[in-house]
């Protein structure tokens, strides 16, 4: 408003009051701008934690495809993480058809006579190999060994193999989940037409196994 400031004249003295007000305004506006920019950016960086991707049910094949008392390696695709995951979306699991007549695990929970193990060793996550001639899983990294029921046999793993939650669906549209009672009532042929599914999506670690409450007993 008044006349232009002459750069060669000393500036008029600012009162300490005004200086303090301007100082706090600068700090305040700076903080406000930082928060307005920073909070969304922080949200973006922590997005994978805030907007967690859940596990989902994945088909492994027809029940009839898995012979009794045998452990089979099957490949499947993880629920989509990102569209350009490429090969990283592929995963494997060991399906063991334990029994054609007993449909619960040692804790009494329904499993349809199946147990599906993750290939990740419980020690540090290397893929284990199944040896049918000796009935053992061997890990190449540090020599961890597991029995056919997934219990730890020897070596550094702190627990047995991680196992997936399983369920069975009738094929066709729409898909229907089969309840334990229905499963028990079916005959062997009918059961063979069901689709075996596992709940997959995250890499199992010691404090985050594939099934809630899975403590993984050692042998």
């Amino acid at each position: 408003m008044s006349q232009p400031v002459d750069p060669y004249e000393p500036p008029p003295p600012t009162s300490p009051e005004r200086r303090r007000i301007l100082q706090w305004c600068a700090i305040g506006l700076g903080t406000l701008a930082s928060l307005i920019l920073g909070i969304p950016i922080l949200g973006y960086l922590l997005g994978t934690l805030i907007n967690r991707q859940r596990d989902d049910w994945v088909d492994l094949g027809l029940v009839g495809k898995f012979p009794e008392k045998q452990t089979v390696l099957v490949n499947f695709d993880l629920p989509v993480l990102q569209p350009w995951d490429g090969d990283a979306r592929k995963a494997s699991a060991y399906v063991r058809h334990k029994d054609k007549t007993v449909f619960t695990d040692s804790a009494g929970k329904f499993d349809g006579g199946f147990v599906v193990f993750a290939v990740n060793c419980a020690h540090l996550g290397c893929p284990v190999s199944w040896f049918p001639s000796s009935g053992l899983f061997l890990c190449p990294c540090h020599g961890g060994v597991y029995y056919e029921d997934g219990l730890r046999a020897s070596g550094p793993p702190p627990r047995g193999l991680y196992s997936y939650e399983v369920q069975f669906q009738r094929p066709g549209t729409p898909r229907q989940v089969v309840t334990p009672e229905e499963y028990q009532r079916m005959n062997e042929e009918e059961r063979g037409t069901l689709v075996l599914q596992i709940k997959a999506g995250h890499v199992p670690t010691l404090h985050d196994p594939l099934r809630k409450g899975d403590k993984g007993d050692k042998a």
């Binding site: 991707q53 596990d55 190999s129 190449p140």
Partner: protein
Amino acid sequence: MSWLRAIGAWLEERLGLRDSIWPVMRHPVPSGARWWYVFGSATLTLFMVQVITGICLALVYVPAPDQAFQSLEYMNYDQYLGWLLRAIHYYAATGMVCMMFVHMTQVFLFGAFKYPRELTWLVGVGLLALTLFMGFSGQVLRWDQDAFWGLNVAASMAGRVPLIGPQVVNLLLGGPAVGAASLSRFFTLHVFIVPALLILLISVHLYLVLKKGISEPPVPGRPVDPKTYEAEYHKVIDKGEPFFPDAVWRDAIVSFVAVVVVVIVAAWLGPYGPRSIPDPTLIQANPRPDWYFLWMFALLALSPPEVETFIMLVFPAVLFGILIAFPFVAGKGERSWRRRPISVLLVIVVFISFVVLTYLGAVAPWSPEMEAWSSTPVPEKMIRWRDAQEPPQWHNVTPEQLQGAVVLQNKNCRDCHALDGKGGQRGPDLTDVATRLTRDQLIRQVIQGGGNMPAYGKQLKPAEVDALVDFLGTLHGGEAPAHSSAPASP
């Protein structure tokens, strides 16, 4: 050439470099500086090589899992001189880690971390951590089987953090499992975030080196006393020589040699990997970290399982804590290594441990040989042999012992046990097991296992156990077989 001088004068009038850069270049350094002091600048030179070659690689490399491997193959085989750029980047990384450790050892043994250069050392420890991270993330970007499963191993380790383990894994991988987000995350860290931090810390490191001056060569009997050090140092510097050109020529020569050696080795050995395709369904993987982490791999493999979580998560922090503590615990006193026997001992012990652990990590005797059961046959001399008669007669093991040898192979025993030196190294070599264990002891060991061996009781039928132990009982190589000291029952 006077037009060149005219351009120089025009620039100098506006940049004023002569006033700012020239005094720095001519700053005095202690006269006895010698060749020991060149390793810091060699590390810096190789870092600059990494930045340049890294930019070149980023022109072709695609950080997406469905294309990373192919883009690296393209670099190796189709891109003009792509193989050489990849090789230089890999071997300069090796060179930089080596030069950094030599520099650190030299600074430590010369006591140059003591007053007043403690902060320079601390910044250096930060540079060490960042450089090692660059090595690890660089391997991840190679995105082959080692990288993919190595990342799974890192996630398993991170998952052991109490309370927040799953959250740490999620942040490390950028999601619930190893995928595109993981690769992007490590790419961003390796290319943007950590190099920026490195450049920042290097600037601080160099600023401190200039501000505090190059340390004078240590003299036994002349300890560092903060009260008198500055005055003493000034006396040394007054008799010093200008950094440029009287001291820097040594740095220039060593940096030159380092660059030339890296390029020659790169051209001779070619690029490293990518090795196997990172397909998670190929489960015959056997991941290994790059050489500068093999010692950690060995340390974890050899630790008792009970303390493994501690060693994984706390031990690296303890190591860095010790490094950070040096200027505070030993910040004064004698600088010369001749008067610091504990420091010399520390360096020797660390160096020997590193070499031994790295060797063990490379050989990995704790890993079973997954194919040995089907690819490494029982040595023929354990099945049939000739005696010393004239003419020599052939002898065979009995049919049951032969069946025992078949059981030994089929039950994957050879994956952990060698015969005649061939086979797995995880368990003892069984060539003369019968000189150590009696028949009863063999039966117990097979059925009950123990230690790193599983119990085979339920995996073998009783007849198989008999045959196996029968065969193992023949393995005493001509020596007397073991027998129990208990007298036979009358």
